[in-house]
Amino acid sequence: MTIEEIHQLLVDEFGSDAILALVTDRIDPWIEVAPSSIVDVSVFLHDDDRLRFEHLNNLCGVDYLEPDAKKAKTFEHEPHLQVVYHLQSYVHKLRCVVKVKLPRWKDDVEGELPECPSVSSVWEIADWHERECYDLVGIRFTGHPNLRRILCPEDWVGHPLRKDYEMPLEYHGIRGK
């Protein structure tokens, strides 16, 4: 099954309000899904007999912001965040990439983390991946059973993989620079 057919299946099931785009002119084509529909779409991708994407290879966040003024001239993206889901079907030997676009801050208030529904009820491993994504990229996964930092200490300030992150100068008496 090609990515176009998977896309068609999803559009038939959820309509074009939930399935926003299909991008095929890239090495790994992807399907863009509206944040509010990601859980329903995930359940369908996981359970449907034609698809059976039982394995979540990877879940990660990307911060599309170019702080370097020189590089920003050729930077093609508007500032936003992406959550990328890489899926794998063992039964049908299929791969698929699903993306969710989020604003960098909730309601454009700086410091308010954007929200994305958690898919940890669909794939168990998403629990840890989402914790890591929250920790490093700063995305609040709503409905997550235990959204705590996983790699950084609990009292760490900021989200290191944000492009405008500033390294703390001091942490419990340890100098940062």
């Binding site: 890239r26 990877n58 990660c60 890489h86 840890w128 996983i150 790699l151 290191p160 993989l161």
Partner: protein, 414 residues
């Protein structure tokens, strides 16, 4: 300064202990947690009810570093992820970069990569085997395993100059071709009764090593795999069902130990499977016909046995690569400049590392440095099942369960 902890505080909920229960902290300096892993165990007497792994002690945000470096400069950081299989980590990342820029490496580079990566797999599984024996209180297999691994490290040292952090496989191939002639590694010379000063062709020394290692595997089986104490401590313990293994995103020997026939060297993406075209090898998957009667699908014993069988297959693969090497065409490397601009594109690639599928996700935006360099660790996912396979087991079996997952903290924490 004193702070009042509110009842809603996460820490209060976490340490909310009921009567007769005990919280036991295992690690981060416990010898059988394979590095700096802290397990918080909620126990009722000797029986464990809940295992909460706390990770991050080795976190250095390699992904952030990767965003500021050109791919060849990030190669040494991949060495330090899974430091017991540096070659395989290099390979995974190099292939991801090649997929992103659309580069095809010559046949010779592919053959050298297979040879080196499979030797790396043997070395890694030897440590996995030895350390697992150590976890269960059997010291000798560890010494034997390290004796063998030492020879592989010596061979790698002759190939690239490093013994642990190789940075040998780079985007475009390998840093340089295999050496023509080397001194026989002292360990191998002593074991085979030769002089360490004797110079021999590299491939001949590798074959010398393999033919020495092959009969030893039977000895390991006698010493460990079929050992009555070992079987009692591993079989029918730490059972991971197929659905759990898939749901938790387990890969590698952990997944195959639960009965899923999936190996990326065979089922992966073309850029990776192309390397293994024309090679004959089998993928060991549980259940095994020759398993002890008490062993069940997905238990500690199966995971361990998958690794042991993979060593046999890796030996086969190295031998086939050695056969192909003299006639392989092309150079061992095509140049990849540090200033090489990455296209405005993105890709994800997984490769079969000894511990599971290591994935690299790269986003390019027209600069030499990737905009996002994500390393998806296989051990990270494998460790997540600790709680599920350790529920209602005895405290003394926790090292057996964690050890059977064969984790490396450098890769989990990145």
């Amino acid at each position: 300064m004193s702070t009042v902890v509110q009842e809603t505080d996460q820490r209060v909920i976490e340490f909310d202990v009921r009567t007769d229960e005990m919280l036991v902290n295992m690690g981060p300096q416990h010898p059988s947690t394979h590095g700096v892993l802290r397990l918080l165990l909620r126990t009722d007497g000797e029986v464990v009810h809940e295992v909460t792994p706390h990770i991050g002690y080795l976190h250095r945000c390699a992904e952030k570093i990767g965003e500021n470096l050109s791919p060849p400069q990030w190669i040494p950081y991949t060495d330090r992820m899974d430091y017991l299989a540096g070659m395989n980590m290099n390979l995974g990342f190099s292939l991801a970069v090649e997929k992103l820029v659309g580069m095809e490496v010559p046949e010779k580079a592919m053959v050298v990569r297979v040879l080196i990566a499979e030797l790396g797999r043997i070395a890694s599984h030897l440590v996995g085997m030895g350390a697992y024996g150590l976890d269960l209180g059997s010291f000798s297999p560890f010494l034997y395993a390290f004796r063998e691994r030492e020879i592989i490290l010596d061979l790698f040292e002759e190939v690239c100059g490093a013994r642990l952090t190789y940075s040998y496989i780079t985007p475009g191939g390998v840093t340089h071709d295999l050496p023509a002639e080397i001194d026989i590694p002292p360990g191998l010379a002593a074991l085979t009764g030769r002089k360490p000063t004797e110079r021999r062709p590299f491939l001949e020394v590798v074959e010398m090593f393999l033919s020495w290692l092959e009969p030893r595997i039977k000895e390991y089986h006698t010493l460990l795999t079929r050992n009555a104490i070992f079987v009692r401590r591993t079989a029918n313990l730490g059972i991971l069902s197929r659905d759990q293994a898939v749901g938790f995103g387990c890969t590698g020997p952990v997944l195959r130990g639960s009965g899923v026939d999936w190996d990326l060297r065979r089922d992966g993406e073309p850029i990776y499977t192309r390397m293994y075209d024309g090679y004959e090898f089998e993928v060991p998957v549980a259940p095994f016909d020759d398993a002890p009667r008490v062993a069940v699908l997905g238990d500690n014993w199966c995971r361990f046995y998958v690794r042991m069988m993979e060593v046999v297959q890796a030996i086969r693969l190295v031998r086939q690569a050695m056969e192909k090497y003299p006639t392989a065409e092309g150079e061992a490397r095509i140049p990849y400049k540090l200033s090489n601009k990455l296209p405005n594109d993105e890709c994800y690639l997984e490769t079969e590392c000894p511990r599971g599928a290591m994935g690299f996700y790269l986003v390019g935006t027209g600069n030499a440095e990737p905009f996002r360099a994500r390393a998806k660790s296989s051990c990270f996912c494998n460790l997540a099942v600790t709680h599920d396979i350790s529920r209602a087991t005895l405290l003394a079996d926790i090292p057996a369960n964690v050890g059977s997952l064969d984790i490396v903290m450098g890769e989990i924490d990145r």
